[in-house]
Amino acid sequence: MRFAVVQFGGSNCDRDVHHVLESVCGVDADLVWYKERLGNRYDAVVIPGGFSYGDYLRAGAIAARTPIMADIIGHAGAGGLVLGICNGAQIGAESGLVEGTFTMNSTPKFICEWVYLRVETTDSPFTSAYRQGEVIRIPIAHKEGRFVTTPDILVRLEQEGRIAFIFCDEQGAVTAESNPNGSLGNITGILGKENNVLMMMPHPERASEDIVGSADGKRLFDSMIAYIERGE
């Protein structure tokens, strides 16, 4: 089993994700510079957080137009797993890997803090190790993380069970106060059409060891590893 962690100029969570995959989860992972091609040797691709191209033009917009993104879209099309975290999610949304857009927070400031998420589906390669409706604690760190989409798409995402994570309070109640960035429907993690793509703003790699405050995010990587091991 081998993961690719893609590095764009300006990625800055690449080494963190690599650390969690190799040292915490115990799987092989390569850092892949965007000028290299992906090839077909990876079971899963992670697009990590950061500020690819300095967020110039629009977060994720320039990275979405690099050749390696065509490889990643091809990997997803062939059923491979793709996880986008934070800037990775912005790039994924810009690339059409999921529907909807991540845009400027309702208060246009960067927000770095611990939040609670409710797991909305366990029926995906990323969330099978959670319980349906479980509340997990995980940090966010972004300025352009407010999820928006059209009413039609929102209805479809709900109907098709493609909403993975929503902001909630400690008890799991979905409230305006527990929505840090003004995301539509508190949504902050969405699945692609085939459930093998997840784009999320919160950082599971920052919540994968108890010593840093939470290990709730590790089960996301554990879910991916279990899925790959099952060879589905």
Partner: protein, 690 residues
């Protein structure tokens, strides 16, 4: 400008008139910012060596041993003047500059701290500066993926018109693999990597060495650099990849005085010949003075053997960075620049670098302490007034704008120290000083700044390893200011010696005064301290814990928060007792106590509000003294069994509960609810959120 006296001296020494470029080089390199000509003699008195110091002051950053396989690269800088003229870009490029100082040592930056000093936030201009300085630091630090883990905020009238933006950066490097900024071998090439050079930031070093005129914002704007954190991030990765090859002989970032500053200081072990035409430019028609002095950001200069130039070029190109081979190290001790076939600068390098004559200033003691007059008003109201002061406010509005989790080392940023895991230990960081105390008692105040930061480290069980500093002062032309400066350096040095903590680097920022606001800053010798401790985060003490006050409380109100809100005056604190640091460290390391914090800004009432906002407390003696004195060397300890405090001078003062903070002192008693405390401490949130 080069003074007439300096110019006369130089032209007599050289026996000819200076060229335009030479004049510009001297103007910048002989400025206080680059040459420390007003402060060199004072700085020499600081202790700079120690068993863990691998490389002390004088390079881009200091190198201090953390473990057998890990050394810290640490530096601290101010970016005060630019942050008034253009707060966003001024603060952002302040971060960029100190981060490059760390990368140029071959170290990966892992943490930032930012002590900030502003005028009162009830004035719109100060709020504007505060908001944009924080945005500038956040946007830059967040983008390059270096967490801002600590800071300090002080609001005082004296900073209106002259805010201070200080930044500490810490990096890590293998103790045997760090780079220095001193060239090694004549014949080696000098390779410039990174952003192209434009006309931005011309004369920044000399700009930083004078006071801000009334029309500073309009006139000085061209002196402020614009940062590009994306380019900086690429430069981090490229420089570290270059260092990894083992082929980089020396390396220096381009900061104050641009390419002229970096290349001449770096080459001062030998000499250098620079071909200004070969520098990659972003503007047409730049002359040699502009090319050599521009302070365009995100550039790095490396010395490599001629045969290794293509390898460095290939690494730069991998990271989409432009590079050029701009000159060579020469054996002659000269600094030569050619441009369009002409020699436009040819100077003895020792004259340019380190040749600035020292500038002596007369000092004259000043006294600003006044007699203490007990403030009128109810004790409860005084508590709320102190808790509402912005210096002790909840700083979440600031910290949530900084990505303090990236690199996943951060175990805690609570209270006054950050704890980051590093190998099997924790790197523990603290920063700041108390300018109001230092204004009243410069020697004692600066000594206490060292003690206070060491206390913050002790509260996390950490031993201090080193200090970096920024000596922010008004113009030394005022004898009072020079006296404050010399007293501060003496106090800092003496306490650093007492505690055995070397001062390994820093900078000096003088002329912090404003004609526009008619202000001179209070003396602000801000420090950053790094230490090594156990990997223990902070968790609040649980109900039932006994609260004890460790250390001696004296009636020291001068410069306190109580003084700031009531004008009560009084004596500023004398030098605190450092003997309790060891016992406090041991209590944390052995797990004997649940939580400890030291008493600083605001005294005991603030420590209680932060650490034990639900508690019942009974204090002996004078209520004002007990609650608001800011005597140093004191700690609030929460433990299950007060027996663990045996042998430590302390007094049990209460117990952690679940209700309000209720305080009994002599015949007076008061009670503050959790919501009231939270509301009082929400001053900054209230002022800054919209």
């Amino acid at each position: 400008m080069v003074s007439a006296q300096d110019r006369g001296f130089l032209e007599t020494t050289l026996g000819r008139p200076l060229t335009a470029l030479e004049l510009a080089c001297f103007e910048n390199l002989w400025s206080e910012h680059c040459s420390y000509r007003s402060t060199r003699a004072l700085l020499k008195t600081l202790p700079t060596t120690g068993e863990n110091v691998i490389l002390g002051p004088g390079d881009d950053a200091a190198i201090v041993r953390f473990s057998d396989t890990c050394a810290l690269a640490i530096g601290m800088e101010s970016h005060n003047h630019p942050s008034y003229v253009d707060p966003y870009d001024g603060a952002a490029t302040g971060v960029g500059g100190i981060v490059r100082d760390v990368i140029s040592m071959g170290a990966r930056p892992i943490a930032l701290m930012d002590p900030l000093y502003f005028g009162p936030p009830d004035q719109e201009k100060n709020r504007y500066l505060f908001e944009h300085v924080v945005s500038g630091i956040g946007d830059y630090g967040n983008c390059i993926g270096v967490p801002v883990v600590r800071g300090e905020l002080v609001f005082d009238d004296s900073y209106s018109g002259n805010p201070l933006v200080n930044v500490v950066c810490v990096g890590v490097v293998h103790p045997e693999n760090y780079l220095s900024a001193r060239v090694k071998q004549p014949g080696n090439r000098l390779v410039l990597v990174g952003a192209s050079t434009g006309r931005d930031g011309l004369g920044g070093a000399s700009f930083a060495s004078r006071d801000l005129a009334e029309d500073a914002e309009a006139e000085d704007r061209p002196s402020v650099q614009i940062g590009d954190p994306f380019a900086e991030k690429l430069l981090i990765e490229a420089t570290l990849a270059m260092a990894e090859t083992g082929k980089v002989r020396s390396c220096r970032d381009l900061g104050a005085a641009g390419l002229a500053g970096a290349s001449s200081e770096m080459a001062s072990t030998f000499g250098a010949r620079i071909e200004a035409d070969r520098v990659h430019l972003r503007e047409r028609g730049m002359n040699e003075v502009e090319i050599m002095l521009a302070e365009s950001q995100e550039r790095m200069l490396l010395e490599v053997a001629p045969e290794d130039v293509p390898l460095m070029g290939a690494i730069a190109e991998k990271y989409d960075l432009v590079w050029s081979d701009i000159g060579e190290v020469i054996a002659a001790r000269r600094y030569v620049v050619t441009f369009r076939g002409d020699v436009v600068c040819d100077l003895p390098i020792d004259l340019l670098v380190g040749g600035a004559p020292e500038e002596p200033w007369p000092g004259e003691p000043s006294h600003h302490e006044t007699a203490f007059a007990a403030p009128p008003g109810d004790l409860r109201d005084l508590c709320l007034a102190v808790l509402s002061h912005p210096d002790v406010a909840d700083t979440t509005w600031v910290s949530r704008q900084y990505d303090h989790h990236v690199q996943i080392r951060t175990l805690s940023t609570d209270h006054d120290a950050a704890v980051l895991r590093l190998g099997n230990d924790a790197l523990v960081l603290s920063c700041g000083c108390n300018p109001r105390h230092i204004y009243l008692k410069p020697y004692e105040g600066a000594a206490n700044a060292v003690l206070e930061n060491a206390s913050n480290l002790a509260c996390r069980g950490a031993d201090p390893l080193c200090i970096v500093n920024c000596l922010n002062f008004a113009s030394p032309v005022h004898p009072e200011v020079y006296w404050q400066l010399s007293q501060s350096v003496a106090g800092m040095g003496d306490m650093a010696r007492t505690l055995g903590i070397p001062v390994v680097g820093g900078n000096v920022s003088l002329y912090n005064e404003s004609d526009e606001w008619d202000t001179r800053i209070k003396p602000t010798p801000s420090i950053g301290m790094a230490g090594r401790g156990p990997q223990i985060g902070y968790s609040p003490p649980r109900e039932g814990c006994v609260l004890a006050l460790v250390g001696e409380t004296r009636p020291e109100f001068g410069g306190s928060v109580l003084d700031a809100v009531t004008g009560c005056g009084g004596s500023a604190p004398t030098v605190g007792d450092p003997s309790l640091l060891g016992p406090i460290r041991d209590l944390i390391r052995t797990g004997a106590v649940e939580a400890v914090c030291d008493l600083s800004h605001g005294g005991l009432i603030v420590a209680l509000a932060k650490m034990a906002p639900a508690a019942s407390v009974h204090l002996p003696g004078n209520p004002l003294e007990q609650l608001f004195s800011e005597s140093y060397g004191r700690f609030l300890v929460a433990c299950r069994d007060p027996g663990v405090l045996k042998g430590i001078p302390c007094e049990v003062i209460g117990e952690v509960g679940s209700g309000p903070l209720s305080i009994r002192c002599g015949s007076q008693s008061l009670s503050l609810g959790a919501a009231e405390i939270e509301k009082a401490r929400a001053t900054l949130t209230r002022l800054m959120s919209y």
